[in-house]
């Protein structure tokens, strides 16, 4: 696995407003009927888009090519389906900025190299308004300075230290790390009462 550092994400932004946007809305369950993640991006927010018609930001060609997604509170709540961040990432999004995220969604995103940073509710709304007012506005999320900015405004962003470090030094993919110490793992297993016949 080549080490890929993620220091910053720049580009235009897709604003998706709403609190508690759950994983069933991000990617409805019927699209999970597959043994791979291929093609999921086509169904991102599919039912929301159908119900909102042209007014859903994802249906608006002005946001085509956006690399940042700006959301509100408790984004990604609900199921553990990694299909949700997979669909987002496969659509070209490289970072998500929002008020807060569900824990499982956040962890799944880290595992894919998709940073989810939090900002204040006011900042989230301002960033969404900026993208809505001028979809070609360029944003930069800098993980070194932990700021999200446009040419005119800048807001502090937050990311738990462990996740941030992982992106900065390229160790966000945990598998390699977890495989390093087999003897120590074996040792823990051998000490657990339920794995040693309750002796």
């Amino acid at each position: 696995m080549p080490i890929e550092k993620i220091l910053a994400v720049s580009g235009t932004a897709l604003p998706v407003r709403g609190t508690n946007i759950d994983t069933d809305r991000i990617i409805p369950a019927r699209f999970l009927r597959s043994v791979s993640f291929d093609g999921l991006e086509r169904h991102l927010f599919e039912d929301d888009r159908a119900q909102a018609g042209e007014s859903h930001p994802l249906s608006n060609p002005a946001y085509h090519g956006a690399t940042l997604l700006v959301v509100n509170a408790n984004f990604g709540c609900g199921s553990s389906r990694e299909h949700a961040p997979q669909a987002i990432r496969r659509r070209g999004i490289r970072a998500v900025v929002g008020e807060s995220f569900s824990e499982i969604f956040f962890g799944n995103s880290v595992a894919l190299g998709l940073p989810c940073v939090t900002v204040t509710p006011e900042a989230a709304t301002d960033l969404q308004s900026a993208a809505e007012g001028e979809p070609r506005t360029s944003f930069t999320l800098d993980l070194q300075t932990m700021t999200i900015s446009t040419a005119t405004v800048s807001f502090p962003a937050h990311l738990p230290a462990a996740a941030r470090e992982g992106f900065l030094d390229g160790s966000w993919d945990a598998t390699g790390l977890l495989l390093e110490r087999y003897t120590e793992v074996r040792h823990v297993a051998d000490r657990l009462p339920y794995l040693r016949g309750w002796r």
């Binding site: 759950d22 990694e82 499982i104 738990p160 462990a162 793992v185």
Partner: protein, 469 residues
Amino acid sequence: MPSTLLEKVWNAHAVRKLPNGQTQLFVGLHLIHEVTSPQAFDMLRGRGGQVMFPDRTIATVDHIVPTKDQRRPFLDVMAEDMLSALERNCREAGVRMFDLASGSQGIVHVVGPELGLTQPGMTIACGDSHTSTHGAFGAVAFGIGTSQVRDVLASQCLALEPLKVRRIRVDGQLGSGVYAKDVILEIIRRLGVNGGVGYAYEYAGDVIDNMSMDERMTICNMSIEGGARVGYVNPDDTTVEYLRGRRFAPQGDEFERAAVWWRSLASDGGASFQDEVSIDAGAIRPTVTWGINPGQSVYVDERLPKPSTLPREEREAVEEALTFMGLAGGDPIAGTRIDVAFVGSCTNARLSDLREAARVIQGQHVAPTVRALVVPGSQAVRDAAEREGLHRVFLSAGFEWRGAGCSMCLAMNQDRLEGREVCASSSNRNFKGRQGSPVGRTLLMSPAMVAAAAVAGEIVDVRTFSRAH
């Protein structure tokens, strides 16, 4: 130093502190199913890895199985592909699987406990958010994504941030017609759908102490709907007696030694919690959700919130939910017409749930406008229910009696809502589109309330319904 169960179990499974501050945690039991595991096996193969502890992973099939005609190959080609992929992966990796022919197949969170695989003190992971269910035994159990399923297959470990613990005490006495489902809906309504982010919920107090394991599982199951990835109950006599004699529980002398360890894991008196919440059980009434997340609920004798009377920040979300649901603020929830009644899911499809639903409908008939189905949580639940004759009660009342699976909880199979149908459901999520129709509508409630609604054709208070019939 006095510690919580979470700390004890965490420390027993901690391999090391990772350079980034996370803990590398050993996973004692890994459960897999057909939806979130095939990509994980592919990723593992792509890296030339193999399953490190194949005997600590157990598979079953639940989300996509048809609940009517289960003959293989399934008529649904996609479902057949997904099951075949799971079978192939398990065979190649040497992972034990409880398939349709095993007699032990069912929803992964129903099967683990009833087989005695789920035990106190274990760390349990599964690519499914309702893994929190297993916390009812005093295990530390959480849902993970597919990349993490790959990590567990490869290393039997996960990299995790430590969790804070919130103790939620439920004391007093539950009224008749008020169930574990109502307790957890109450907790979610009070603490919010994201109130538990970063926390493990420890459920305690007289009411929890007096609950059966089935009821404790219902509570822990929906921890995730409150944002808490982990929920647990301290192991006690009820836990130990539930496990005695189960197929994969320790036997004989080993069981007695195990029981000593299990009991020792309960949070110590004097353990400190980051937060404590107290709930008076006597005040809880049968609860029904009216919106598009499980926190949007009212008691069955209450009215829906009126957006105009709410503070600005809440108004928009309530309006969105009412509009989607086609309900009017200020209206009573009782009397809301339903089209479908679903008794099922990992929240409420165990034997005791089916008994309660059957008791309510005994000698009555489903309303002519309602399609009603009972989907047992596992083949074992189905068999046990049939031994008691519950299936006859359901069938003669006009319910369909199905094979075990997730069914209409998320409709990855043939069971789903059509169009704008309204479903009274004993499941756990009322998200937009959850039950298969993008515009279908779900009202969550206890199995007894679903049963009463099926007969009445509308939402009714099970407390007065049962008295009147």
